[in-house]
């Protein structure tokens, strides 16, 4: 017997009955990570639960979710309890959740913790290996998706903070199978070209699976090996990836990476402005200093009371002049005295003064005759008296002790 064709609604209704009758599906626990979470205004919650390769649509009605003592959000790992059924209108099966428990560590977390521990022990996170970020770069390399919000945020922030900076975007898939290889290639590209000061590697927020490329060992090692400082900028503040630990600097968000990679141009302007003030201040001080020196000269007595100095000189001149005159007088007196003495001496020696005392002298032809040896008998001699001269002829000469007789 051939069955007549089912209507779509009949098929969905049939499947729904089968699913709801299944002993496993009617009360099942599923672990997974929340994504695409929507809290509808009706009070119902809609989201997807997923693991690293599959997903299932979920609904939790307001009657059930009002007992939740925590709020759900994307990326949260949970264990959901409920039943699987079909939403007949759309023909899709989904998980109708009654209860939710938070699930701390799932598979990916185990993988994450294991790699983190390994790399940490190997020293990849060591702070001594962290390179310093130049906050005034000329050029920044960015490895991220060229279409996401992350790149827009990074560029916007950097342009706002310092419009002078060049940016070079190496576009990559930030999730999916090509992602990790592309990210590594981007970091290698910038290291090969060597024309950027800093590399920013990152993406916007997402679930742990979506961020997974940044937890891959290859990406971690590429960041570690980069000669150029790397800033990681993955997801939101609360997301810590392996890339964050190994990077030279972790930015909590892509926008923050833009901030951490640059100094606000206003700081540079302030610095420049301060330098300008210091320049002008110091030259003013130097000029003022010179002026002060000049003023000291100007205020000195020499300039303010020139007469004082002139008078001083005058006084000295007077004094010296007097001294000179005195000296001169003394000299003159001295000479006078000397002259007087000489005159007296001369006087004493003057033969005429001897004549005064009754002596005479004899001469012959103007020659004074001091000895009888110079006279001969019959010589004509002149005897000088004080009051006249006697011409005489030598009658006789007595030598020395010879007896003289008149």
């Amino acid at each position: 017997m051939e069955l007549k064709p089912f209507k779509v609604s009949e098929l969905n209704s049939y499947l729904k009955k089968i699913l709801e009758a299944d002993p496993i599906l009617c009360n099942i626990k599923i672990e997974g990570e929340i994504s695409n979470f929507k809290y509808h205004y009706s009070g119902h919650m809609y989201f997807t639960l997923k693991d690293y390769k599959s997903r299932i649509r979920c609904v939790m009605f307001n009657g059930d979710n009002k007992y939740l003592n925590f709020s759900l959000e994307d990326g949260m790992r949970i264990i959901a309890e409920g039943y699987v059924s079909i939403y007949e209108r759309d023909g899709c099966y989904q998980l109708y959740i009654k209860k939710i428990k938070k699930d701390g560590i799932g598979d990916l977390y185990v993988k994450y913790e294991k790699l983190k521990k390994e790399l940490e022990e190997e020293g990849l996170f060591s702070t001594i290996n962290k390179k310093k970020i130049n906050r005034n770069p000329k050029k920044i390399g960015i490895v991220t998706s060229s279409t996401g919000a992350a790149i827009r945020d990074i560029i916007t922030v950097i342009k706002r903070r310092n419009p002078m900076i060049d940016m070079l975007v190496y576009p990559v898939h930030v999730q999916g199978i090509y992602s990790k290889e592309e990210i590594c290639k981007g970091i290698r590209y910038f290291n090969f070209k060597k024309d950027v000061d800093t590399i920013i590697v990152g993406r916007g927020g997402g679930s742990i699976e979506e961020l997974w490329s940044f937890n891959e060992e290859e990406v971690a090692r590429e960041i570690y090996n980069s000669k150029i400082p790397v800033i990681s900028a993955v997801g939101h503040e609360t997301d810590y990836t392996i890339a964050d630990f190994v990077a030279d600097l972790r930015a909590p968000t892509p926008s923050a990476a833009g901030e951490l990679a640059t100094e606000d141009i206003e700081n540079l302007k302030d610095r420049l402005f301060n330098i300008n003030i210091l320049l002008i201040d110091s030259i003013n001080r130097i000029i003022q200093n010179e002026k002060n020196i000049l003023n000291t000269f100007k205020k000195s007595r020499f300039f303010s009371e020139p007469l004082y100095y002139i008078n001083q000189y005058k006084q000295r001149l007077d004094f010296e002049f007097k001294k000179l005159i005195n000296t001169e007088q003394i000299l003159i007196n001295d000479r006078k005295n000397k002259l007087k003495n000489i005159k007296e001496q001369l006087n004493n020696l003057n033969p005429t003064s001897i004549l005064e005392r009754g002596y005479t002298y004899v001469e012959n032809n103007k020659n004074i005759i001091k000895s009888v040896s110079r006279i001969n008998k019959h010589d004509e001699i002149f005897i000088h008296f004080k009051d006249g001269i006697v011409k005489a002829n030598v009658a006789k000469i007595y030598n020395g002790e010879e007896k003289y007789s008149g």
């Binding site: 560029i155 342009k159 060049d166």
Partner: protein, 78 residues
């Protein structure tokens, strides 16, 4: 960055700070000080102009089928 001149802003600012230091030490003669000051003001104006006028470039790296990398202007920003 505009490629019309190879003017290193950071170096220029460091140089400026050195000039200020020299002037503040007060070891210079007035003539030397005035020369340094003129040099400083010139540098300051250059730096200021640089900051005001320079507009950074944003480029996107694209790899063609032959594996060559090309840089083109990045247009994704408002």
């Amino acid at each position: 960055m505009a490629k019309n001149e190879e003017f290193k802003l950071e170096e220029a600012i460091l140089q400026l700070e050195n000039i200020v230091e020299d002037l503040e030490n007060g070891d210079l003669t007035i003539d030397n000080a005035l020369d340094e000051f003129k040099k400083g003001i010139k540098l300051y104006n250059k730096c200021y102009k640089k900051i005001e006028e320079t507009e950074g470039e944003i480029k996107l790296i694209l790899e063609d089928q032959k594996g060559n990398f090309n840089e083109s202007n990045f247009m994704n920003v408002d």
